[in-house]
């Protein structure tokens, strides 16, 4: 449906209509179409005829509420879209349902829009979903908002009433940091102040709705931002190997050196591919293109290409604001699928900061502190993915700063990634040494093992502070020494004195601390030593990284397992007391998570075993390995 205007539209703007149920959204859309001459021929008569035949009053809303069930109940169930045109541009009007039950449909409509009209009934005033929708618009990234105070006819077009509603709703918007463009008094049913100024509101000197629409701006594509080119697919239909995708931000051109996350492989753009287009012009944000590379590296769907100078973050943990639409709540301990650009990863709720009712901003308290986000709630939380994913904070780059969560077969939630001092890869670490090979000397591993009568390996202790790591590790070292074995404990404090003296305790530095220890342990193992390490090393991902550095059977993970309350009672260094008093931040077990190993080689229940028994268990394990030949003691 389009109005009779002969000029080709040079731009298009998508507007969503939101607000509480029955406040007149669909009526407004019907009337807007009528008053701008955009209704298709015969449509009005058809709708009037249907109403007459059914013996119900004619409703403008029936233009949009096309489903039989919608007309029967006089409500909008699903979002619908309709087109119209002004002298300035073409509009897509998206009508959204106002009922809380259909919030997923409202989100679907609104997520597509660039601007919003929020309708409030002047008589009923601000309601639950007036506020919730305002909050969600903001979360969905819609910054251009005008508020229509509707049904002014029911309030005798009273300026005082209008101002009352405006004052109340403005305060709400302010509390969620939204700056509305304008409030307009209208009566959708009568067409007041929609396409022309109404005689009923002589006090109103502001714009009509139509003028306000034309005042909204079409957003600029994020061409000037750092390049993000998520790979959708790799095609080999002919002799070209084309990486297909859409430029989400920035620009890309022939000759650009790209780095692909998460593999960190690099290559250069050989050509930009488009079908039925001559030339190989640079591609900007929003363009669905293909590229070929100068070097054939392995890249698959989910990789994100960026320029080396401005890479995305690449981590397994991020902070987000999320809305939940799923029938089942989002729960801790369950795993879900995260979709971010073209990446997919297993994800779990790591920590829940707060859950909010988006219509009141009230913090929701669960009876026994249960960590869950129920349907239609919003939350501030930390998510943890099973493998590192590439992302940006939404404040920096929008398309790679938002995600959805799939529960079973259904998209059950969406969210935006908020700022949190994420460690950025340095240019140095990106230039990681693809051309450096491990150099082999003239003495082999087998020769060393023969001389020592045992092979090198890493015995990696992990567990809570106070679980017994240090005690057992030093005892183990002494036993091995007495048995004539070459063993050495890598001590945390010693390492921090020298090698890692440049590192602090931020998550980034902790990760780097473990990485370096892993590297040193690996060298020791290569030298033929039994290298023992005793660090809390709370993150599974970090430990697995070390496991991957080493050969099969060389990494022996020892889970020193004691119940939290026992560790706390032991508290050899008085740390738990300090952490509880808030004097130590991010203390594992108290204010920072500990991820127990899933399949440790050895588990020591130190609440049941004596130190000697624990040491024996490990010695036995090392002897057991003897038969398989990996470690001979």
């Amino acid at each position: 449906m389009s109005a009779a205007i002969s000029m080709a539209p040079t731009e298009q703007l998508k507007i969503v209509i939101v607000g509480h149920v029955d406040h007149g959204k669909s009526t407004f859309v019907g009337r807007l179409f009528h008053d701008t001459g955009s209704l298709p021929e015969g449509k009005l008569e058809q709708l009037q005829h249907i109403a007459e035949r059914r013996g119900v009053p004619f409703e403008w809303a029936n233009l949009m509420d096309a489903l039989q069930s919608e007309r029967d109940q006089n409500i909008t169930i699903d979002t619908a879209q309709i087109w119209f045109q002004t002298q300035k541009r073409q509009y897509v009007i998206i009508d959204a349902p106002g009922h809380k039950e259909f919030l997923k449909n409202m989100v679907t409509g609104a997520a597509n829009a660039e601007a919003a009209l929020l309708v409030i009934d002047a008589h009923e005033g601000v309601q639950e979903n007036s506020r919730r929708h305002g909050y969600l618009l903001n979360l969905l990234g819609i910054r251009q908002i005008a508020v229509l105070v509707n049904k002014m006819d029911l309030e005798d077009y009273s300026q005082a009433r209008f101002q009352h509603v405006e004052t109340e709703y403005r305060a709400w918007l302010k509390s969620i940091h939204v700056e509305p463009k304008v409030f307009i008094p209208i009566a959708a049913k009568q067409g007041d102040n929609i396409a022309s100024r109404s005689a009923h509101t002589p006090w109103w000197t502001g714009p009509t709705v139509l003028e306000t629409l034309d005042d909204f701006r079409v957003s600029e594509p994020p061409d000037g931002q750092p390049l993000r080119f998520p790979i959708q697919d790799v095609y080999r239909f002919d002799d070209r190997r084309i990486l297909a995708g859409r430029v989400e931000s920035g620009t890309i051109q022939v000759g650009d050196k790209l780095i692909f996350h998460p593999s960190n492989k690099t290559s250069s753009v050989k050509s930009i591919e488009r079908w039925n287009v001559v030339g190989t012009a640079p591609a900007g944000a929003g363009e669905s293109i293909g590229i070929t590379l100068t070097e054939q590296i392995f890249v698959e769907r989910g990789a994100i290409a960026a320029h080396e100078t401005a890479p995305p973050y690449e981590l397994t943990k991020f902070k987000a604001r999320l809305f939940w639409l799923g029938r089942q709540p989002l729960q801790q301990g369950r795993s879900y699928k995260l979709k971010l650009a073209t990446q997919e990863a297993e994800v779990a709720l790591d920590a829940l900061d707060r859950v909010l009712d988006a219509s009141t901003l009230q913090v929701i308290q669960r009876p026994n502190g249960e960590a869950l986000v129920a349907r239609h709630e919003v939350a501030e939380l930390t998510l943890r993915t099973k493998r590192p994913i590439a992302f940006d904070a939404v404040s920096e780059i929008i398309p790679t700063g938002r995600f959805v969560i799939v529960d079973g077969f259904d998209v059950a939630g969406g969210g935006i990634i908020v700022d949190d001092n994420y460690p950025r890869r340095t240019a140095d670490s990106l230039h990681k040494s693809h051309d450096i090979y491990w150099s082999h000397g003239k003495v082999t591993t087998a020769q060393r093992a023969g001389r020592n009568s045992h092979a090198g390996c890493v015995v990696w202790f992990t567990g809570l502070s106070g679980s017994g790591k240090s005690t057992i590790s030093t005892e183990l070292e002494r036993e091995l020494f007495n048995l004539g074995k070459h063993a050495y404990v890598l001590d945390g404090d010693n390492i921090r004195h020298g090698l890692n003296s440049d590192l602090g305790f931020s998550p980034k530095d902790r990760k780097e601390n473990i990485r370096r220890i892993g590297e040193v342990a690996k060298l020791f193992a290569d030298a033929g030593l039994i290298c023992i390490t005793a660090f809390i090393s709370p993150y599974r991902g970090d430990r697995d990284l070390v496991r991957q550095m080493l050969g099969p059977g060389q990494f022996i993970e020892v889970f020193v397992n004691a119940p939290m309350d026992l560790c706390e009672r032991r508290d050899p260094k008085g740390l738990y007391a300090k952490a509880k008093a808030g004097q130590i931040k991010e203390f594992t077990g108290i204010s920072a998570p500990y991820e127990a190993p899933e399949k440790p080689e050895i588990e020591l229940r130190t609440d049941r075993l004596s130190v000697a028994e624990s040491v024996t268990t490990i010695l036995e394990y090392l002897n057991v390995l003897d038969t398989s030949g990996a470690v001979m003691i």
Binding site: M1, S2, A3, A4, I5, S6, T10, E11, Q12, L39, P40, E41, G42, K43, I50, L63, M64, A66, L67, Q68, I77, D78, A80, I82, W83, Q90, K104, N105, T108, A111, V218, S219, E220, P221, Q232, D233, Y235, F237, D238, A244, G245, R246, E273, R274, W275, N276, G284, G286, S288, R301, K339, P399, F403, V404, V406, G408, F409, D410, V411, G414
Partner: protein, 272 residues
């Protein structure tokens, strides 16, 4: 500078095509020979760099305007397409059709199009079907999703559609269900013609006025599709005409008018 509207539409459609191709092992595209499905075909070649890497399904009611079939076979040859034809032989043999006076228009659409489609999909185990419907065609289509699930009976649960945001589509679903993928959903009839003009896409001549002041605006089976009064003989003239008309596109489609919600019912049951 903002991208021009046609390029925006095109880029979005290509994105959807590529998502579909990546996510569905058994993908097919419906091809009705009309302007929309020909634009769809063009966009597929854009998305896949000149290739159409999945079969096209044409549901043949045997009542199509004859030049449609000629045009179909010509493009299949020229563009090297893989074509699968679906037909409801049983109903046709028994003659239970509208033109034979043995069915209403809506029943006839139900058996010759909808049931025939279901049979082809089942036979070839297609679980993703690309269809060229647009939101501006008709009010229930205005509520469609880009990735729209159908259950094992091909039914559309319009009251409970999946959320769709930020180009993250529904690509996980139960066995037996299938997904309709709608890469043209956000286009209007006028956009289609503007794009045909910009890209020089070959279109079946039925859309152009024949010298007797008539042309088809929407094409389908000859017993149920009627030409409109028009003198538009070129794409340019059609664009000019559309910019000045207020008549809905499917006005020449008789089956939509049998009852108030005839079309909604057809679509809920699995019609395109």
């Amino acid at each position: 500078m903002p991208m021009d509207p046609l390029s925006k539409l095109e880029n979005q459609s290509i994105y959807i095509f590529r998502e579909a191709f990546n996510k569905f092992e058994h993908l097919a595209m419906l091809w009705s020979i009309g302007k929309d499905s020909t634009v769809l075909l063009w966009l597929a070649r854009k998305a896949f760099f000149g290739h159409v890497p999945f079969p096209l399904v044409h549901v043949d009611t045997t009542y199509k305007i004859p030049s449609m079939i000629e045009y179909r076979d010509q493009l299949v040859r020229e563009w090297k397409l893989e074509l699968v034809v679906g037909k409801n032989e049983e109903v046709l043999r028994a003659g239970r059709t509208f033109p034979n006076g043995q069915a209403t228009r809506v029943e006839c659409c139900g058996t010759l199009k909808k049931d025939a489609l279901k049979a082809v999909l089942d036979k070839h185990h297609f679980n993703g079907v690309i269809v060229g419907v647009r939101r501006d065609e008709e009010p229930t289509r205005a509520k469609e999703r880009y990735f729209s699930p159908r259950d094992k009976n091909m039914e559309w649960n319009v009251a409970d559609q999946p959320p769709e945001l930020w180009d993250q589509f529904k690509t996980d679903f139960e066995k037996g269900a299938h997904i309709r993928i709608h890469p043209l959903l956000h286009w209007t009839e006028l956009n289609i013609w503007e794009y045909i003009e910009r890209e020089n896409i070959p279109i079946i001549p039925l859309y152009f006025a024949n010298g007797q002041g008539e042309r088809y605006r929407s094409i389908g089976c000859f017993p149920c599709t009627f030409p409109i009064k028009s003198n538009a003989r070129t794409v340019r003239e059609i664009i000019e005409e559309l910019r000045h008309t207020n008549t809905p596109e499917r006005a020449g489609r008789a089956q939509d008018k049998e009852s108030e919600d005839a079309f909604e019912k057809l679509r809920r049951d699995g019609y395109m």
